[in-house]
Amino acid sequence: METIGIPRSVINEIIDHAKAGYPDEVCGIVAGKEFSSAHLYNMTNTENSRVSYFMDPGEQFQVMKDIRERKEKMLAIYHSHPDSVAFPSAKDVRLAYYPDSLYIIVSLAGDIPVLKAFSINEGEIVEISVKPL
C-alpha cells in the first residue's frame, strides 16, 4: 500500500472538527505544497445532516482561489462518518470529482476515531496508508 506522511497536528485537527460537528457530517480541505507541510480549511456542510454533506459552494470557491494564489494544491478532501465505517460510500464515490485529491474519511462509529485515506478515480477506490509525522 502506498503511504503518505501527514503531520499529527493536521490529523488531530480533522478528528477534532469531526467530533465538534457530531452527530452531523463535517467536511473540509487539506491544502499545501505537500502533505508534510499541509494545513486545513474547516468548511461548512450546508446539509446539516448526519448522513450526507455538501460543502458550502461559496466557501469552496474562495478557498480554491486562495489555494491557487498560494501556489498550493488541494491535497485532500475530508469528511466524517458519524455512524459508519471509514470507507467511501457509493454516493461518496459517485460524487468524487477530484481524482487528483485524496479523500480522507474519519469515522466516529467506534470507541476511538478512525481516519483513513483513499484515492478515488473513475469509481476505483484505492486505500492509501496514513503515517502520522
Binding site: E25, C27, I29, M43, E47, S49, V51, S52, Y53, F54, M55, P57, G58, Q60, F61, M64, I77, H79, H81, S84, P88, S89, A90, K91, D92, L95, A96, Y97, Y98, P99, D100
Partner: protein, 93 residues
C-alpha cells in the same frame, strides 16, 4: 475581449490539459453548449437538458449563478466564468 472560462482539473482532459479556455459572450448555457463544439463531451459533464447539474457550481467572476439568472445569466466581454464541481457525498442515495 472574449470570455475566459476556468476549467476544473477533472475536466481538463477534455480540453487537452488547458486550465483556461476562451469563449464568445452569451448566456451561461450558450457558452457551455458552444464549448462542447470545441471540446466534445464537456457540456454533458456540466449540464443536462440545458440545466446546470446540481453538483456543478458555476460562477461569473465572483458570483454564483444561482444568485444571478442561473443558466440564463449573461456573461459579458472580459468576464470570467468558473466551472467548479461540488464537493459532496453521503450514505443516502
Amino acid at each position: 475581449m472574449p470570455v475566459k472560462v476556468r476549467i476544473p482539473t477533472p475536466l481538463q482532459r477534455l480540453t487537452g490539459g488547458k486550465e483556461e479556455v476562451e469563449a464568445k459572450t452569451g448566456t451561461v448555457i450558450e457558452i457551455v453548449n458552444d464549448l462542447d463544439k470545441q471540446y466534445p463531451g464537456i457540456a454533458e459533464r456540466i449540464s443536462e437538458n440545458n440545466k446546470i447539474r446540481r453538483f456543478v457550481n458555476m460562477y461569473v467572476n465572483e458570483e454564483d449563478i444561482r444568485f444571478l439568472q442561473a443558466e440564463a445569466t449573461v456573461v459579458k466581454d472580459g468576464d470570467e466564468l468558473s466551472i467548479v464541481p461540488a464537493i459532496a457525498g453521503g450514505i443516502s442515495q
